[in-house]
């Protein structure tokens, strides 16, 4: 109980005085035979009590203001006068060290207490209380809006290949983008809802901006029924647009891709398939955000299929699957506890990184081979400009592997890698398409 209390400047001793107020004083101290030996001041009135707390507190003040390195230990027990010393015998303790339990994790662990207190307060104040966020912030957080970039990239890529093949209708592109984005937002919210219902998000105490879900249900930002209503609405919108495109542009092909996309999206987390829980979530995401969206976007424009968009979809599908794959690393412990057998849970740490590196290498190999085989213009090699970003992502993730909060920059670089590579690939098709448009 006392092993880590030696390194503090002082002990703050507190008892309740005769007037019923807490009385505290700082004391030098030493540890001796399971007791904290305290200073014996002449003016001290109370020299024995069984209700005493002793606080050891540390911060490092910063020259610019504020502080860092917070850590403290609170001990409870009794003090007794023994010869010329006062001895404190602890019986309980509580502590926090931000270098051991990150502040975000400390907050996350305390969420159930915070929600209970808000419920108490609701009763006291006689009105509903939930965390205050502007409507946009709430929508942004609940839907995990920034992740829509993973939809924009393949939709744009499919349309860009179509444009390279001489066909592009901006209205159809926008309609496709809205439809696919709605399905993606439905996916994000259904994932939160089912991960909460199945327990994976609840046991996760180390979420990051990129992993652990939106926490909207854990924080009480929305109710579970609101989540169901929202993901149902997003899916309805997405499927409605898909149906319209199917009727106007090609019933069987678009309907088939849409249904496949919907199944991969909804059953990514939802029972009975729970693809993410069976170690095939990464493949589902790779297929869904790669070939399904790229081919769908291409077909809406051209009303036909071609091997070129399929080949173009592979690097993007792999990179978006790798976003998920890397984001699963901080969630490994919680996922394993909840029985979510993601690839990261199933593989050992060394193999996880080996596979990550191998798949990144495969991405660049496909880009080069697609060009070499004549299915992509020379300008698609622009995507190779992201190789330094790939190296940086590998380095950052390897160096911080397993520490959720230190991994955040690496996870951000990994997302940047996927989006920049996808966008450069799309630009690689758009440049010759624009050139052709200008000279004809």
């Amino acid at each position: 109980m006392l092993e880590d209390v030696r390194e503090y400047d002082e002990a703050i001793v507190t008892y309740v005085d005769d007037e019923g107020y807490p009385f505290s004083y700082p004391s030098s101290y030493r540890i001796e035979d399971g007791a904290v030996v305290l200073e014996r001041h002449g003016w001290l009135k109370k020299k024995s009590s069984d209700k005493v707390s002793v606080l050891f507190n540390h911060i490092t003040p910063l020259p610019t203001g504020g502080y860092m390195d917070r850590r403290y230990i609170v001990l409870w027990g009794g003090i007794e006068e023994k010869q010329d010393t006062i001895r404190f015998i602890p019986s309980r303790r509580y502590s926090w060290d931000e270098n051991k339990v990150h502040f975000f994790q400390y907050c996350e662990i305390s969420v159930p207490r915070g929600r209970r207190y808000m419920q108490l307060l609701e009763r006291e104040l006689g009105r509903k209380l939930k965390p205050a966020l502007s409507l946009f912030s709430l929508f942004f957080r609940v839907t995990r809006l920034p992740f829509l970039i993973a939809t924009v990239v393949p939709t744009l890529l499919g349309a860009a290949v179509a444009a390279y093949h001489g066909i592009f209708d901006p209205l159809l592109f926008i309609l496709t983008l809205i439809g696919v984005a709605a399905i993606h937002l439905g996916l994000n919210m259904a994932n939160d809802y089912y991960d909460t219902k199945l327990g994976a998000d609840n046991v996760n105490t180390t979420p990051t901006p990129f992993s652990g879900g939106s926490r909207a249900l854990q924080y009480g930002l929305i109710t579970p029924s609101a989540a169901v209503a929202m993901f149902s609405s997003f899916y309805a919108l997405g499927l409605g647009i898909g149906l319209y495109l199917a009727i106007t542009r090609g019933l069987v092909p678009i309907l088939s891709l849409m249904l496949l996309g919907f199944i991969l999206s909804f059953f990514y987390t939802a029972p009975p398939l729970k693809l993410a829980y069976r170690g095939v979530g990464e493949i589902a995401v790779g297929v869904g955000f790669g070939p399904v969206i790229v081919l769908g976007s291409y077909y809406v424009q051209t009303q036909g299929f071609h091997i070129a968009p399929l080949l173009a979809s592979l690097p993007v599908g792999i990179l978006i699957a790798l976003i998920l794959y890397a984001n699963e690393i901080p969630d490994k412990r919680a996922d394993a506890l909840a029985g979510k057998r993601t690839l990261v849970v199933r593989l050992d740490d060394r193999t996880v990184m080996k596979l990550y590196k191998a798949l990144i290498a495969l991405v660049y190999a496909i880009i080069v081979l697609t060009f070499a085989a004549g299915y992509a213009p020379f300008t698609t090699l622009l995507a190779l400009l992201t190789i330094p970003t790939a190296r940086k992502a590998v380095k950052q993730i390897s160096e911080t592997y397993g520490n959720p909060y230190y991994m955040i920059p690496g996870l951000a670089t990994n997302i940047k890698l996927a989006t920049t590579t996808g966008l450069l690939l799309a630009v690689g098709y758009i440049i010759p398409a624009a050139y052709n448009l200008l000279i004809t």
């Binding site: 507190t14 004083y25 004391s27 001041h41 507190n57 003040p61 502080y67 808000m118 965390p131």
Partner: protein, 158 residues
């Protein structure tokens, strides 16, 4: 007009942290390190507490008798140093836990200049920024001048 002498006010204003104690349901002291925000006009010391760390709020509502100890030379950003124990009665102000505490930001900013950057990121930790205010009205001060704990403290009573 506050009964707090000027040299003590200097300590209250410049402390980065203090040891705040309330009393639990079993009559035991519960001490936490907290950021004190001293308001000269009222002579009150304010603290904010997130609902995430709300146990002390429940204790204070049941028993408002609290104290705040200002000690450790390294935590007092002032040329003067005295150890000060403030005893008093606390109120929990939480009519508006969303924004009520924001009125203390000017005092908070002086001690943690980076606080605005965190407040702007409210979306990242929504429950952390749901905060109650603890208002401590001092009734008795114990002051050990120059931090000399071997001598009797000077006592000031409201």
């Amino acid at each position: 007009m506050t009964f707090i002498p000027a040299h003590v006010e200097k300590i209250l204003e410049n402390a980065l942290v203090c040891s705040f104690t309330c009393i639990d349901g079993k009559g035991r002291p519960v001490t936490h390190p907290l950021l004190p925000l001293y308001e000269r006009d009222s002579g009150n010391i304010y603290f904010t507490s997130s609902v995430l760390f709300s146990k002390k709020l429940e204790y204070i509502k049941r028993n408002p008798r609290v104290s705040a100890l200002f000690s450790n030379r390294r935590f007092i950003m002032s040329d003067e140093f005295h150890v000060v124990l403030v005893q008093g009665d606390a109120r929990v102000l939480e009519e508006d836990i969303h924004h009520g505490w924001e009125k203390l930001l000017p005092l908070w900013r002086k001690k943690e200049p980076y606080i605005d950057a965190y407040v702007k990121q409210r979306i990242a930790l929504p429950l952390f920024w749901e905060r109650s205010i603890i208002e401590l009205a001092p009734r008795k001060l114990y002051v050990w001048n120059d931090g000399d704990m071997s001598k009797e403290p000077q006592i000031y009573v409201r």
